[in-house]
Symmetry: C2
Subunit: 252 residues, 2 copies
């Protein structure tokens, strides 16, 4: 039997249609076109109302596509890390976030879809998008691997503000905390700070609210990497890490 059990023919067909929806949507975005139900349906040889058999409304289409875009982009961030030795934890993290910036500046529309779409005030399903973000998982995993190797100092739970303490004990963010001892949860706070800095500089550059020459040079991004290095205990390695960043930013 070539088909797995419990997957009827219809289910496979439906799954294939979902994949095509995502593929066509990504093609449209890559071509600089607007993401619209009619455009997607038209390119699939369907009419727009047919898409309502697959997504409840336009926002659901956006969420679906955003999720898949994030997943695909994250794969490239991970691939960049795999160019380095497995035990170069700091290098892998730095190379991944650099690839994140490159991707964002290269695909501003996609970045906006994934990272500049309001999530806070939405339904439960959209809130789960927060904890399911592929990129978030990658960065947390890499940062945790780095910490488990060099055990740089992290804040004690008692030193954290109360809200932060409850948040790191039961995180709503894409952090794998299973098996991370309670007293080590300060690492999650460090991660949140790192994500804030990374998101901040990249969003600022993507939206262009800064001197274009500075953006083009990447020096602000490098400055952020440099200043965050001590926080994750890699200040002795920072010149090599910045070298990795510069080499990646110079790529075509």
């Amino acid at each position: 039997m070539p088909t797995l059990p419990q997957t009827t023919r219809r289910e496979r067909q439906r799954e294939a249609t979902y994949d095509e929806i995502v593929r066509v949507s990504r093609d449209l975005l890559a071509e600089g076109a607007e993401l619209s139900l009619r455009a997607v349906a038209g390119r699939m040889g369907m009419t727009a109302p047919a898409l309502y058999r697959y997504v409840g409304n336009y926002q659901e289409l956006v969420d679906l596509v955003a999720f898949e875009i994030d997943k695909a982009a994250t794969a490239t961030f991970a691939a960049a890390a795999d160019e380095l030795p497995e035990d170069d934890y700091a290098g892998r993290l730095v190379v991944s976030v650099t690839e994140f910036r490159r991707w964002a500046l290269r695909s501003p529309r996609e970045f906006g879809l994934v990272f500049a779409n309001p999530i806070a005030d939405a339904s439960c399903q959209r809130r789960e998008l927060l904890t399911l973000a592929s990129s978030g998982h990658l960065f947390t995993d890499q940062m945790r691997a780095l910490w488990e190797h060099n055990h740089h100092p992290i804040p004690a739970l008692d030193d954290l503000p109360e809200t932060i303490r409850t948040s790191v004990l039961d995180p709503l963010i894409p952090a794998e905390v299973e098996g991370l001892a309670t007293e080590d949860r300060g690492l999650v706070w460090i991660y949140m700070q790192g994500w804030t800095r990374l998101y901040g500089v990249v969003a600022l550059e993507v939206f262009g609210h800064m001197d274009p020459r500075v953006i083009e040079s990447g020096e602000m991004f490098i400055s952020v990497v440099r200043e965050f290095a001590p926080v994750i205990g890699v200040e002795d390695d920072v010149e090599r890490l910045v070298g990795l960043v510069r080499a990646r930013l110079a790529l075509p």
Copy 2:
């Protein structure tokens, strides 16, 4: 003669219409409605094509409204600063940026319009929006006043990357550098770094890509303030400054 010279009746009429366009647009946004040419025109008792006598296209309307929203919001940031003594430079800066965050979280649509609209790849006029941003002017002015008072260390020009050096010598950002000595231009780089951190944390919170409980508590914003304090030489004052932030965040 009650009318100023060189302002014909038509010009005053036209100016009044511009004002009404902006006023109506801001009302629409404040009510949670979409900003559209038809809605604005309708509320003004006109038809949509008539607006084309005032703005070239929809994006120009957005730019116009965004500029005025930024101006009005900046007035509230400045007003918050004026609650403090004139010589409390650090306090005034901190209170202003706190009000910036409060405004952004209270008016996410307006924030998106002003600060999450791509500027980089647009025409010259939109690029000028960068150097005309009212909020940028306020923050740079406050930071410069602080520096001229306590003269905290700033990077020397020779220590800056070349791109940054040329950028701070002839800034494209809303910084008043007239009269700021060439050797002191490292301050502009400090400002850019501060803006990156401020924009970053606020944008992240507005778009909700973070644990909602952390956003609600404001602890990430406080953490950013706390970590930036040493950069502008106010680390000895940081507990008082954080107190100012907390007091402001507790406001209704």
